[in-house]
């Protein structure tokens, strides 16, 4: 089972809206290179885990990978062939709300080319367009 919070205050949440762009977590802070999202949406815990595994396997044991997002929003889903009503369904999976500009993965300790090709593989697993970014020097 992929990532999810250990404790929550409420079991279920409303869907909410995602307006605007990322104002935090939108630059490479821990590593040398990062994968930045240019579109917004929900990133499921499974997708985060799939991306992490893809990057880790590609760089084998080299470097250190940082996952900058955490799925903290429960998404509920009604079972198939169920009539509408009868209250809100049970939580099915967890997502992270991603706004354009968010850096989702970072890596350090690997050459640039390796980081770039690793993140290209990760980007294919993501549900939005991503781009390779480097640590900012003005």
């Amino acid at each position: 089972m992929p990532l999810m919070p250990k404790r929550v205050k409420f079991r279920k949440q409303q869907r909410g809206t995602m307006k605007g762009n990322a104002t935090r977590g939108n630059y490479v802070a821990y590593g040398d290179y990062g994968l930045q999202v240019t579109e917004g949406g929900w990133l499921t815990a499974r997708q985060i885990e799939a991306g992490r595994i893809a990057a880790r396997q590609y760089v084998s044991r080299e470097g250190k990978l940082f996952v900058r997002v955490f799925p903290d929003k429960p998404i509920s889903k009604k079972p198939l062939e169920t009539r509408m009503g009868k209250g809100k369904a049970e939580p099915e999976y967890w997502v992270a709300c991603i706004k354009p500009g968010q850096v989702i993965y970072e890596i350090t300790g690997v050459p640039r080319d390796l980081a770039r090709s690793a993140f290209t593989r990760v980007a294919h697993k993501m549900p939005f367009r991503c781009r390779f970014v480097e640590r900012r020097h003005v």
Binding site: M4, K9, F10, A22, Y27, R56, R61, G63, T108, G109
Partner: protein, 212 residues
Amino acid sequence: MNAKDAPKIEVKVREKLGSRYAARARKEGLIPAVIYGHKKGPVSVVADGKELIGILQKSAHLIDIVVDGKSEHCVVKDMQWDYLGDTVIHVDFERVNLAEKVAMEVDLELVGEPKALSAAGAFLDHPLAQIEVECRADSIPEKIVLDIAELTEEKAITIADVKLPAGVTAKTDAETIVAQIKIAKEEVVEETTEEGAEPEVVGKDAKEENAE
């Protein structure tokens, strides 16, 4: 950088303030900025984008800013970027006296290839990209070069080990690690929870569940 070598830039005072006018200025290739400090009122200005970025890319900290024909020495206090981190959208300049001490973040450049990096799984971990230093405004170093050729797995380089130019002191905690060699370990797979497992509920929902 000496005060004489400080790059000079001419800026214009912004008469119309607000996000709309700032956005229009950006479309024209200008960068909105503000100058403040030294118990004088803040002055909103615009600078030529290419010129200002060119200066900032040279790691210039002390800038000679000409406003309405009057020259003022300023340091870059803060910068704002767009959401993708591509373009500078606003710059804060702080007025300084050349003789006064200022605290600045200075880029850290690592040079040399440590031998320890050739070990299997070894990688260089350098959490800091900048160091906060305190020095006279006219002697802010462009960058601090750190030789890591002798870096070993056993001993990490901390702020205390960094040789700073004369008159420059580090404000970052002396025990902060600047660079170290780490060996990548096999990833420990966290305890997997069963499919459909739910987190512990604390708060209102939990009270309702207990009441039922």
